[in-house]
């Protein structure tokens, strides 16, 4: 008899949309131990599926992998996340011998679908191939069906969210889907659930669109086994109590991430005017306090989350009165607000709604439009280049036009749908200095001038610029584990030191010491890195835009702040040394890979 695998269903669901074949593959206990779940296990599956570098991310070969983690499905506070792993359609190296070279991509979302995948009896869903025409997938416990989705193709995510659940005839189905941006293969299209929660970054929706897959619906009746039931219940009680009545919980509930719109602006760390500045003088107009007074109605939570950071509201005045949506959050409010100098809260809500409805990544979209605004202001491009749009800072109607063009890839939208790197290549001159990306992936809402380690965080992220990567190797390893468990980052601070590890031990029956835990995180990070290295990414790709070294902040409490190139170079040298990677090529050393039980990687890295 096979050894019982605790904490997992032991099954990965594989669906090939080309042939329509559905397979239930056993999950290797060794992989479960080494790569945990979520981002880690998704990466291992991606590595196994793509046996060579340079695969076109939009080809049927590229798998789209939906991964909950070992916490998913259990009522541990805030264990709601699903990580989507694939080869990125949006990143590229400075040079590589492979025309389709790109990094890995992972993006995770909250809501309810991650736990539901586990209730249906799976530890992950791997989708390959390409359907002949638009389809959606229904997973109802053991039963898996691929159904025609032609009538839904082209539909915005808000309307689709409502129509789809009606079609399924049971509100207990959990769904996720793409909007027109994903269908049109915008490189930074996202996957959305509940009409607002998004796996925003890295173009997962673009890959989903390339497979002609509109949506996935899941419903289940099961739950995976745990190794130490009694201990698990004790730790669960402790975890729940840890969130009760604390200032941490209260602040998240009241403002969600929107509290940072003002605090980050005050710290000079906000993306403002295409990252030219770190302080937005009108931050209070779009921040949490204003939104609470003018927009928000209710708080909403993901599965078993005591924080409820999602704020749903309604626009009450102006041309968009009656619009119901959630936000602004820190990222949406900063990227579509501060970064574009939008101080009109109602207009900002409309932007956020449209970006979600089209199924675009809020971060990349706000970054791309900010870049175009700056290029336009500087006279690098004129309104003819922008199809007649007078794209001035803070102009909401112009921004709305641009959002639509990007999602539909009309006119300038076609080029803009490929991101700031491609735009700056076309525009030329020194526009690369204010094309704010790393490896082709746009930076998020945290600015860099005031923090050297924020620069290291962006430069070394395996999916291209990522604010959630971590500022040093240890933080990055811990974050990689967090993303692999199915736990939300925002809840981390509510757990007592060591409690997360103890929960994982009780669930899996393995002894997760701090050393083992960090090592697993390091293993995951190194496998991602090895994938990128094999594609051709080198040290020259691990950098941040010139703006942060050359143009000091001119307003706010941190006026004058700028990074120093030598200090950045030294910080990066230290980073690679600590990682055990080559200083010139960034290749992970064979002994490092061996110590992480990644022997299978060594021969792949020439």
């Amino acid at each position: 008899m096979a050894e019982k695998l605790f904490g997992y269903n032991g099954v990965i669901l594989e669906i090939d949309l080309t042939s329509g074949k559905v397979e239930k593959k056993p999950l290797s206990p060794d992989d479960a131990r080494k790569f945990v779940g979520g981002r880690g296990l998704g990466m291992k599956i991606l590595w196994d599926k793509l046996r060579k570098p340079g695969v076109n991310p939009l080809s049927p070969e590229n798998p789209l992998i939906f991964m909950p983690g070992p916490f998913s499905g259990f009522p541990i506070p805030s264990s709601s996340r699903t990580c989507i792993v694939t080869k990125s359609p949006h990143t590229s190296p400075v040079k590589s011998k492979y025309p389709y070279a790109s990094t890995i991509s992972y993006s995770n979302m909250g809501g309810f679908i991650g736990p539901e995948i586990r209730f249906a009896g799976y530890d992950g869903i791997v989708i390959t191939g390409k359907a002949n025409s638009p389809v959606y997938i229904v997973i109802d416990d053991d039963k898996v069906e691929i159904r025609d989705a032609k009538k839904f193709w082209g539909m915005g995510t808000d309307e689709f969210d409502r129509k789809f659940i009606e079609e399924l005839k049971d509100r207990r189905f959990r769904t996720c889907y793409i909007g027109p941006a994903g269908e049109n293969l915008v490189e930074y299209a996202c996957i959305i659930n509940t009409a607002a929660r998004a796996a925003g970054r890295g173009g997962t929706g673009c890959v989903m669109g390339s497979k002609n897959l509109k949506a996935i619906a899941v419903r289940g009746t099961k739950i995976p086994p745990v190794a130490d039931h009694k201990r698990f219940l004790q730790l669960l009680e402790e975890a729940r109590n840890g969130f009760k009545g604390t200032p941490y919980t209260e602040n998240w509930r009241r403002y969600g991430t929107a509290s940072a719109i003002i605090s980050s602006s005050d710290a000079g760390s906000q993306a403002v005017k295409n990252y030219r500045e770190g302080t937005f003088l009108d931050a209070d107009k779009i921040g949490g306090i204003s939104a609470e007074q003018k927009i928000w109605i209710r708080d909403f939570a993901c599965y078993c989350c005591p924080l409820a950071c999602k704020k749903s509201g309604v626009v009450r005045t102006g041309p968009y009165a009656g619009l119901v949506h959630d936000g602004p959050e820190y990222e949406t409010g900063t990227m579509m607000g501060a970064n574009l100098l939008v101080s009109d809260l109602e207009g900002l809500m409309k932007e956020i709604y449209d970006v979600d409805d089209f199924g675009l990544d809020q971060i990349s979209t706000g970054n791309v439009i900010g870049f175009l605004m700056e290029a336009y202001e500087k006279g690098y491009i004129d309104s003819t280049f922008l199809d007649g749009i007078d794209l001035k800072w803070g102009d909401v109607p112009a921004i709305l036009k641009m959002i639509r063009k990007i999602a539909m890839r009309e006119g300038i939208g076609d080029l803009a749908s490929k991101g700031v790197k491609r735009l700056s290549e076309r525009i030329g001159r020194d526009s690369y200095k204010f094309a704010i990306h790393v490896k082709g992936h746009e930076l998020a809402a945290w600015n860099v001038h005031v923090s050297l380690t924020q620069g290291v965080c962006y430069a070394t992220a395996n999916r291209g610029a990522c604010h959630l990567n971590g500022h040093n190797p240890r933080a990055q390893n811990l974050n990689a584990m967090n993303d692999s468990l199915g736990l939300c980052r925002f809840a981390q601070g509510g757990f007592r030191q060591g409690l997360i590890r103890e929960l994982l031990s009780a669930i899996t029956g393995l002894d997760w010491t701090e050393e083992e835990y960090l090592k697993a995180g390091e293993r995951i990070f190194n496998l991602e890195k090895a994938f990128n290295y094999r594609e051709g990414f080198r040290r020259e790709d691990d950098t941040i835009p010139d703006r942060f070294f050359e143009e000091p902040l001119t307003v706010g409490p941190r006026k004058g702040a700028v990074l120093n190139r030598d200090e950045f170079k030294k910080a990066m040298d230290d980073y690679y040394k600590e990682r055990g990677w080559d200083l010139i090529t960034t290749k992970p050393s064979a002994e490092k890979l061996r110590s992480l039980e990644l022997e299978f990687v060594i021969k792949e890295l020439k």
Binding site: E292, F300, A301, C302, T317
Partner: protein, 240 residues
Amino acid sequence: MDGRKKESKITILNLIQSEHSRREFLKKTVIGSSALLFSSLFVKRVFAQRAERPTYSMILVDYNKCTGCRTCETVCSAFNNKVKIGEEELPGLGNPYYSNIRVYSFNPDVDIPVTCLMCRDNPCIEACPVEPDPKTGRKALYRDEKTLAIKNDPVRCIGCGSCAEACRTKRIGAIIPNPQTGKPERMCTLCDGDPQCVKYCPYGALAHVVGRLDGKHYGFSIEEIAEKLTKLWYYNERNK
């Protein structure tokens, strides 16, 4: 403190203030509150008199506070589906499929936790076609005198689904027939007098109410409640 919460004067449990404990809630609800519009969307009137023996015990939902996190589902399922570990009987892992309280989500954001309303006129019991037992007077479906919860006797139940149909068409549709046997499931047990959903709701959105009940049920479906809440919250004239 919180501007949003102050603004929404019409709450479903319009007597509960956010800081009030369950004890205070009970006091307010039970003492001399004639024609109190509580849970106004589905119960028309409540007359509660302290002196008389309670005839009614149920879980009430404050939709204003529910965030749709479904913690209630997991603790309900865990308590009511115990597992034997060695010699000990312990709560289960909280698979929400087996929960007696179920949250239904809508777009725009409205979450409706649905659980047995313990209706005084119990259309489910009325619909049960099983002959009353001569000794106890009970049909297969009956109200338990001690807990006041509606229970099903699986031995006498014929699995016809009449009770679920009655609940679905006349009330909120809390009863769901077992897909194999047709016997009713998802009836609230009140957890031996200590409802776990009330105890563990991180947002204080649920309350256990004991008292006497008179008046009629509105009998709104889940969809109708959602529609009313959507209008009340998002498409209210006050928002303009």
